[in-house]
Symmetry: C4
Subunit: 264 residues, 4 copies
């Protein structure tokens, strides 16, 4: 059960899908979240799944919130720009096979709007405080190297990292199977968990806006990141708490004096 609810069916011209779901340093989440806000992109669909955590969150004291991924669109204003579908959200899949199912659903949906290219944004945990974080990149097709090398991406991500887990990797990996081209952009960050890294996010944002022919006012980034961080931290803490409690249940000791005996 993975469901996409569509509120509006915008006509988009050769749109680029840009993904920024929670992950290492929450760089993708923060970067694409800032894009959504600064571009005033419009929400037109959301997705929920049995592969997300089985709980709802409470916002602003009283509001029940189902865990979701959200789709926004933005239409190009100038030559050199492209229509965009921006994908952000609360979480990724809880189970390994769920990742594949959710991503395939997203790709089905994106193909319906004619998506032929995908950018995914994530972080790479270097284990060190990065003074001058770079944007590392990887691609599904060699020709993309030439196309985007001018934008300042260091396409040697494979030297520093062996794999890309979850949406940032599978969206482009599974997309390639459908003939969709993909670029993964990774901001260098220390990688300590539950830390949102606005510096790395800014570096990636600069790269990605260059690649899309956009100019973005970055002055509000720090403040926005702080606002987003509160929410991101909450989801992360709750998910961790939920996992811990699930685990606890499974290990709860059973007192010996309980005289029930078991049959097979």
């Amino acid at each position: 059960m993975t469901i996409i609810r569509v509120f509006e069916k915008p006509k988009l011209k050769n749109p680029l899908l840009v993904e920024g779901l929670p992950g290492v340093g929450n760089i993708g989440r923060v970067a694409v979240g800032y894009l959504v806000e600064e571009l005033k992109a419009k929400k037109f669909a959301h997705l929920y799944s049995e592969h997300f955590f089985p709980f709802v969150m409470l916002h602003e004291n009283y509001q029940i919130h189902l865990l979701k991924n959200e789709f926004y669109y933005w239409k190009a204003k100038k030559p050199g720009q492209r229509d965009l579908i921006l994908l952000v959200g609360d979480c990724q899949s809880l189970s390994p096979n769920g990742h594949y199912e959710v991503i395939e659903k997203i790709l089905d949906f994106a193909e319906g709007f004619g998506v032929k290219e995908i950018f995914t944004i994530g972080g790479i945990a270097t284990g060190e405080i990065e003074e001058k974080p770079k944007t590392l990149g990887a691609v599904t097709d060699r020709e993309l190297l030439a196309k985007y090398r001018k934008s300042g991406v260091d396409f040697t991500a494979g030297k520093k990292v062996g794999y890309i887990v979850g949406a940032a990797g599978l969206l482009v990996g599974l997309g390639k199977e459908r003939g969709i081209k993909g670029v993964t952009l990774l901001g260098e960050t220390s990688g300590f968990p539950i830390v949102t890294d606005p510096k790395a996010a800014e570096v990636v944002l600069n790269t990605v806006t260059r690649m899309m022919g956009l100019k973005l006012d970055m002055s509000k980034l720090d403040q926005r990141v702080k606002e987003m961080e509160k929410f991101i931290k909450k989801v992360e803490t709750l998910q961790r708490k939920a996992l811990t409690n699930m685990g606890k249940d499974e290990k709860a000791p059973v007192k010996e004096e309980e005289q029930l005996r078991y049959i097979g």
Copy 2:
């Protein structure tokens, strides 16, 4: 495989679905169970699922009992009251994704009877003995705040709790996706496991009956809770035992002298 067996198809007028499945303090289970008994509500369907524990229970020495959730209905007697569908049961889903599947099945079923509003009842574990437990609440739609604030619900659950796990949360969260309005009512309880908290249940029962235009004789609550508790405790103990045994199997040491060798 989640199956609902229907014994009777009652004609109900704008029924309210009220859920009380096992959870923290078993407040929902006890409160809605008491509603079923005091209103003499009639069982008309039950649900079982591959997502429940893979065992049957033994009742009254000899009786084999499949784990189930049960649906009861009650028809309004007076103006200001509403037809009710009451949902109680032995257990919730064992697996995270199972929660979503079971809840969607329940919502499909409820929609067939024209359900447009859901109350879910649960407990909130405060970690302390609560002298004067309150009913905390959360809603899916802002307008419900005004509608139900008079009933004494403290709609600031989000201040004390970040999420609502399982049926109490997902029924209203997923219900909202179908245009069904939802209220979650949470009784404050210490939250130590395997404890049924009749005091908190009474507080929530008082709230919820007020919200439904009902008057309930509470004098039998203590005794009924004691009766129910025996059963609830048994299910909980068995589930815990089953989980422990499942776990044990997986960690059973294999003696080295067993000379079988393994191939891949």
Copy 3:
């Protein structure tokens, strides 16, 4: 993926399904296995499932053997006897939800032959060496108590045990939902794992043959149990080994010097 392969479609008259899959003390496995051999019942179908362990066994040095459950039939010879479908096998489901799926498949199959009554045979682990083990029983329908009380079953299993895990419980529990009547027969055994208890199996066999109007030569039981035990022990050991190895993989330490870093 749970598949039943059928070799022959026997015409059976109101057949009784008797299940004896591996479990506590392997009492069901041994008892129904002995029935198969002494009655010279004929194999007519087998079942395999993605919910079984993902390995094949090696028999007689060179023979590859897929894990299976097997169906045998036997036709009544005298008045007072009934046609039988005997269900034995190598294993039960590995995953909790798999139990439900496999059992539903078995019930679909049994219904196709007109099965209206099921006996399941298992063991009850008492934690003590039983000098005079009894056959404890439980039923899905009260009327079965009267029908079978004369056969010497002690229908107070619920006093000693709270639940019945797996096929022995779910076959009758889920069967009841289809209008099939069910009796579970449980031999008292100490319950130490990887022990096959021929004494308890004999007690249950005596009971069950009485219930079915059969007379069985028990003189070969001890020897047959020894033969079967070798095989049963092997499957159990391999399953335990497989589980341990699966577990080991998941906990394998990763050396810190491996300089690969991870991305999200």
Copy 4:
């Protein structure tokens, strides 16, 4: 979701399917990989699955690579040879039930090309350094013993090993259910993980080429194994790392001062 993408539909005459996926000692992976290279077999399809690890790998610094199994074909050149379908790949299923699903998909695909016989190649972990490793074998049908005994296979694998996990076992076990004959060839190796054993691979390669009427130049084996090993090691390390990280997430401690409380 297990998908096979087909690039070409070769006409093959009674082809033999030869499987060599990663496993103990990576003997199958290395042996069939060498066959692919030396025979210049042609890739005509690949398979990916939700049961594989939810990540992509990075090759040659910049290239995104989805985890896959790959099918190659080779047409017989001389009398006494047979058309071949060679199956190699990055990994096997992550979940127990996934093994069954992926293997069934492979069998569906193989049947479409008229496959009536399968060889699977794996390793048997003996726990000791093997001076003169042998090729042990097992079969699904007794008649295969006579057919292949001349080739030097020691068909007493069952003496040394109780089961065969994953593709090497299930391909022939499930294949038999479709009337496909199967031989499993196992090279003796010490079995320490993350070790590729070229000596055992060579022994099995000699056996299998004899069985297929092929002559192979083995002089490049050592070098090829070294090249392959780098890649195999990387996948293994990443999978282990991924599993460890998944595990870590689930056990992450939650600080007590986080004042969020949990509801059920």
